[in-house]
């Protein structure tokens, strides 16, 4: 029987990450019902792209307040403003528990403050997305990002040109963790495309579902090769049986291995700006190598990143918080 209400709340859609947790809880848990509220949507081009299955507080205030007062656990994502904290604190029932989860912030620097220490809300548990962020918040419980769709693989045939998908979400540079793109890499990709060695799909501002379908039809996905982290893109790429190109470092991989509790080698195709041209050429000209990595991606995802298994990370945390009375 569904006994407890878990309410996910975030200031912005956070590329739908909270909403996915909410969704999979409803699907896989017998104890927890879940909803997801966002305080506001992204502006401009990103408007409506990631908010489809969330309740927008501004549009549905009454319903939102009702959900807040019904909640047994409020799972806060990223940083709330003081006003937003007040809305929660003034409406929750006294037994309500709070969980904080840190996602990737838009800007660097003081965004990495240990916000949880001084917020008016007393958090019962603090979590952090298990990518590069764990080293910045080493005491927080690591939790995975989720991919909802079923895995698939579209192995490249010998007479096919590899389809390479690159979808950087922005082009800012100069940060330590938030860079997504490098001019050198884009140049190489574009010239390979011109020479008909690859078919490059450079895509931005597309709905996540559509992007996922494009990825299913691709053979190679590029995450980013600058910072040493892997991101949601890499997880989706594994799910789509793509060769997953990133520069995920030893500690990002260690975090992933620990979350799935297996020392199996993570099948990322590691690429850095040093020598990326040679490595990339070697890959795109070797169909067998591509197929190899594609299969490894699919296998790794199916074995370790199964959605039900990953959702258990969250269910265990909720059980712990609820039973900690």
């Amino acid at each position: 029987m569904k006994k407890y209400n878990i309410l996910h709340i975030s200031p912005t859609p956070l590329v739908a990450s909270p909403q996915k947790i909410s969704h999979s809880l409803n699907q896989f848990s017998d104890t927890y019902t879940s909803n997801c509220i966002i305080f506001s949507d992204y502006p401009n081009k990103l408007n409506n792209l990631f908010s489809a299955n969330s309740i927008n507080f501004q549009n549905l205030k009454e319903l939102s307040l009702q959900l807040i007062s019904d909640a047994d656990i409020i799972h806060v994502h990223n940083f709330l403003s003081l006003e937003q904290e007040d809305i929660l604190l003034n409406n929750v029932k006294s037994s309500c528990k709070f969980i904080l989860q840190i996602h990737s912030p838009l800007r660097e620097g003081p965004l990495f403050v240990e916000y949880g220490n001084e917020s008016k809300i007393k958090y019962d548990k603090k979590c952090v997305v298990g990518q590069y962020h764990t080293r910045l918040f080493p005491k927080y419980t690591m939790v995975p990002n989720l991919v909802l769709d079923k895995p698939s693989v579209n192995l490249i045939k010998d007479d096919e040109i590899p389809v390479v998908l690159f979808s950087p979400s922005h082009s800012r540079t100069g940060g330590r963790w938030n860079d997504k793109t490098a001019p050198e890499l884009e140049e190489i990709l574009k010239s390979l495309h011109k020479l008909d060695i690859i078919e490059l799909k450079l895509i931005s501002n597309v709905k996540p579902y559509e992007l996922f379908q494009i990825r299913r039809k691709s053979h190679i996905s590029i995450d980013e090769i600058i910072t040493g982290s892997y991101h949601q893109v890499s997880l989706e790429s594994l799910a789509c049986g793509n060769v997953t190109i990133n520069n995920s470092d030893f500690f990002s991989n260690l975090t992933l291995k620990n979350m799935v509790n297996s020392d199996d080698e993570v099948p990322f195709f590691k690429l850095s700006l040093d020598g990326c041209k040679t490595e990339l050429l070697k890959l795109v000209n070797d169909k067998k190598l591509i197929r190899d990595y594609q299969q490894k991606s699919f296998d790794y995802y199916s074995k370790h990143l199964n959605i039900e298994k990953l959702t258990n990370h969250y269910i265990n945390i909720y059980n712990e918080v609820i039973n900690n009375d």
């Binding site: 080493p138 690591m142 330590r176």
Partner: protein
């Protein structure tokens, strides 16, 4: 002979008194040795007015202040030359009374050493801190975050060409805000009074290097990667130069130095030396135990660091800590610190 010399000197004194004092051995001795003790009595300020100002007054890139909980940053956009990118320094000072930079304590010493790479025209810039009487306010992290977020200049990463931010006797948090505008900036504080020392203890984890006057009691200061002292003006300038060399990028010759090494021969070391992004190498044994957090993975007794190397520019920043480290736990703490600071590690 002596008489002739005296006549000559007297003539010079009448003809060009400024030059006379500038060339005087006695004067140079006074101005170089005494100032830290006399810092409040401004004796140096008076003496140094005899020095001819430099043809080109050093570049002041603006002023900064916190007023009514708003950060006001008047920034004059300067093209900081990339040629000394690694050594470029932004020096913040408080303007108590208006005067040329060359007349200010500490700064006059720096300007006298302008042949040093970090103090050359193209690498050294000044910023006036206009905040007054702010030392009693302790800002929380979320207040710092709000101040930062509301300032467009900070958010637009204008200071990305600088490497070091230096502040003399800080009493307010502007330099911390500046440091947070770019992940590569290093924050160096020069402190010669207790008031300022008390102030910075509130923000220890933001500071990369503390340079302090050795008559101060700093025993209660810890957890700053690098702490060094000076006793007089000559030792100040030497220490300051060393610190700047240590914190700066060494682009053309930045090699891996072992922090903890169990092998003589590391394969691929040459290859990694050439990679500019990688500045840490690690080899550790671990057992996966479904740990809940990152720190537990590293600090577990079953996790053993076999090899740990850092590029010279990172190594020199943490060398005090490295020399003090003896146990696996010490090295693990250092590793966690480096990871938090963003050092890019590769497995060797």
């Amino acid at each position: 002979m002596v008489q002739q010399k005296l006549i000559k000197k007297t003539k010079k004194l009448i003809r060009d008194p400024k030059l006379f004092f500038k060339d005087s051995k006695l004067f140079n001795k006074i101005s170089l040795n005494k100032f830290p003790i006399n810092i409040k009595g401004n004796s140096i300020t008076d003496n140094s007015s005899f020095i001819k100002p430099f043809k080109q007054e050093p570049s002041i890139i603006g002023s900064i202040q916190i007023n009514n909980n708003k950060l006001i940053f008047d920034y004059i956009d300067k093209q900081v030359k990339n040629s000394t990118n690694g050594f470029s320094t932004l020096f913040m000072y408080r303007e108590e009374k208006q005067s040329l930079l060359i007349h200010k304590p500490y700064i006059n010493l720096i300007l006298k050493n302008r042949n040093f790479i970090s103090f050359k025209d193209k690498s050294l810039y000044f910023l006036i801190n206009k905040t007054i009487n702010n030392e009693d306010i302790v800002y929380s992290e979320s207040e710092i975050y709000t101040l930062f977020k509301e300032n467009q200049i900070l958010r637009s990463n204008k200071l990305q060409d600088f490497r070091n931010i230096v502040e003399l006797n800080p009493l307010s948090i502007e330099s911390i805000l500046l440091k947070n505008s770019n992940p590569n900036l290093k924050l160096i504080y020069i402190v010669d009074n207790k008031e300022s020392l008390d102030f910075i203890t509130n923000y220890k984890k933001e500071i990369d290097v503390l340079i302090y006057f050795d008559k101060l009691n700093t025993s209660y200061i810890s957890n700053i990667p690098r702490i060094v002292s000076f006793s007089n003006s000559q030792s100040f300038i030497n220490v300051f130069k060393t610190v700047l060399i240590d914190t700066s990028y060494k682009i053309d010759s930045n090699f891996f130095i072992p922090v903890l090494c169990n092998t003589d021969n590391l394969d691929n070391l040459d290859k990694y030396n050439e990679m500019t992004k990688i500045n840490g190498l690690i080899d550790l044994n671990y057992k996966l135990k479904n740990y809940t957090n990152f720190e537990d993975i590293i600090l577990d007794e079953d996790t053993i660091i076999n090899n740990f190397l850092l590029k010279e520019n990172i190594y020199s920043l943490y060398k005090d800590q490295i020399f003090k480290s003896k146990t696996q736990k010490d090295f693990k703490e250092l590793l966690l610190h480096c990871l938090k600071e963003g050092v890019f590690f590769e497995k060797i």
